[in-house]
Amino acid sequence: MYSEKVMDHFTNPRNVGELENASGVGTVGNAKCGDIMRIYLDVDDNQIIRDVKFKTFGCGAAVATSSMATELVKGKTIYEALQVTNKAVMEALDGLPPVKVHCSLLAEEAIHAALWDYATKNNIEIPGLDKPVNDISEHEEEEEY
């Protein structure tokens, strides 16, 4: 069902974990459809992503796309990271089964959500970056009010 690359990133995911004092954190997806991704970014003064970690609740493809997405943005500037699309993630994984394409979209959205969090905290604007709509923590807060 999955390519060797997907299986590799699923069984040996890169950059799993959390970052304390992360410069930006983004969480997307929801438990209802069974995929939640959280990305932590550590961005240095030159706006370069020095470190990145992820946590994912989801299927093999969700874990693998998170892992690949973190690899693709690591060492990049925040502007370059914005250009990492779901297509790029999929290609880097040698493809995904059609029913799993949404997992790669989620990875792209998770990166965007983390970048948005960073941009908001630092009062900067990243051209082309929109406010993420898929942030579960927001929904939770809304429910609490």
Partner: protein, 395 residues
């Protein structure tokens, strides 16, 4: 070949060597068509009758009430569609449950599009229907009640005897999908007032592609496959003699030591369930604690997704299944887990392990050790678990 620990007997089972052996002559030297006049063919009529008798005996039925089909789905389709058609003048209302197999649910949807009305009964948290709700759902135009004997995912056994009594009292036909239950539970169609019963050969170490529908004498039911006069003119097509012989052999073997075999499977299953529930925290056992198929275990591991779990188990040579949406290729998790009221994220983390006769406690020990490590690994990767731990630390 890679060594497997096979824990997906509800999906299918290996055909027993004795069954294969019994089947083989009917592919080669005894290949004759049972409808033929010459002896090479006609002697297979006798073989068919013997097979019918063996299967009927396992149900307390008469051999003339057993109709061979190509499997469980055909039997379910036939029972529903042909009954609906035959009893249409009496009424157009059918009662079933929300936790049926798709062979029943999708057939009901098909009938709904053709003007029939279907009531889908709810189940409680254990997966059992309420007899009061069943009584309340019965209308003057109700022609059929179809309730599965035992559920394929969570293993829960339905109150079949009681449903049969209610159906009889109201003069309504009662069909049960016993694909998971036949040969795994004691069934008597007369004591339980079952009018129709579906079963499938490969669920009890018989071959695939063969099953049967029990139809009580006197039930009006139309032919579903039209053609020749096979199966008392009710199911056309040259009989799958090797398959039928194999299925009958599997029934014979299953019935020979049924009590011992089922007790052994149940004991191994209970051992597995006890260890998992004790040793893996934040785990739920789905389905009824006692009223369940002897080989069925179904768990939800919180904060973990089912497909990931299955892939990791597979890498250890352990075969299981999950009600997670990802494994079904849809966005919603299993309709059965939804019907027993599980929240989505808990349903996504379900694992079904279904045991057979050959499974041992040593295998269960191996499974528990691997499962503990895999669940922990996936939890360490899970943002839901991270949030849960942070919340409990904050308290």
């Amino acid at each position: 070949m890679k060594k497997y620990i096979y824990l997906d007997h509800a999906a299918t089972t290996a055909t027993r060597p004795e069954v294969v052996e019994a089947m083989l002559p009917y592919f080669t030297e005894n290949f004759g068509n049972a409808s033929s006049v010459y002896e090479l063919g006609s002697r297979n009529k006798e073989v068919l009758n013997k097979s019918r008798e063996t299967i009927a005996a396992a149900l307390g039925a008469d051999a003339t009430e057993i109709y061979f089909t190509a499997g469980g789905s055909e039997s379910d389709n036939w029972a529903l569609k042909a009954t609906a058609e035959a009893y249409e003048k009496k009424g157009r209302h059918i009662i079933t449950t929300k936790i049926e197999h798709h062979a029943i649910l999708h057939t009901c949807e098909y009938l709904e599009k053709r003007g029939f009305e279907v009531t889908y009964l709810d189940v409680d948290a254990d997966g059992r229907i309420s007899l009061d709700e069943l009584q309340a759902a019965i209308r003057p135009d109700t022609i059929l009640i179809s309730v599965m004997f035992a559920n394929n995912e969570i293993g829960t056994i339905e109150p079949i005897r009681e449903i049969g009594a209610i159906a009889k009292e109201h003069g309504i036909l009662f069909h049960t999908d016993a694909v998971q239950a036949f040969a795994h539970l004691k069934i008597d169609v007369n004591e339980m007032n079952i009018d129709m019963l579906s079963a499938s050969g490969h669920k009890f170490n018989g071959p695939k592609g063969v099953g049967f529908l029990y139809i009580r004498k006197g039930v009006k039911i139309r032919s579903f496959i039209h053609g020749g006069a096979q199966e008392r003119k009710r199911r056309a097509g040259t009989e799958n003699i090797p398959g039928i012989v194999g299925m009958a052999k599997a029934v014979e073997l299953a019935m020979a030591n049924q009590d011992e075999t089922l007790a052994h499977i149940k004991e191994t299953r209970d051992y597995l369930v006890d260890r998992i529930m004790k040793e893996i925290p934040y785990t739920r056992l789905n389905g009824h604690k006692d009223l369940r198929l002897p080989g069925n275990a179904n768990f939800s591991f919180q904060f973990v997704e089912g497909e990931s779990l299955l892939i990791m188990l597979d890498m250890e040579g352990i075969c299981g299944s999950s009600g997670s949406a990802c494994t079904a290729g849809s966005l919603d998790p299993s309709h059965v887990l939804m019907a027993i009221g599980l929240p989505h994220e808990i349903a996504h983390g379900s694992l079904r392990l279904t045991l057979g006769e050959e499974n041992t406690k040593e295998e269960m020990d191996f499974v528990v050790e691997k499962l503990k490590a895999i669940v922990q690994r996936l939890r360490d990767m899970s943002p839901l678990y991270e949030d849960f731990i942070k919340k409990s630390q904050a308290k």
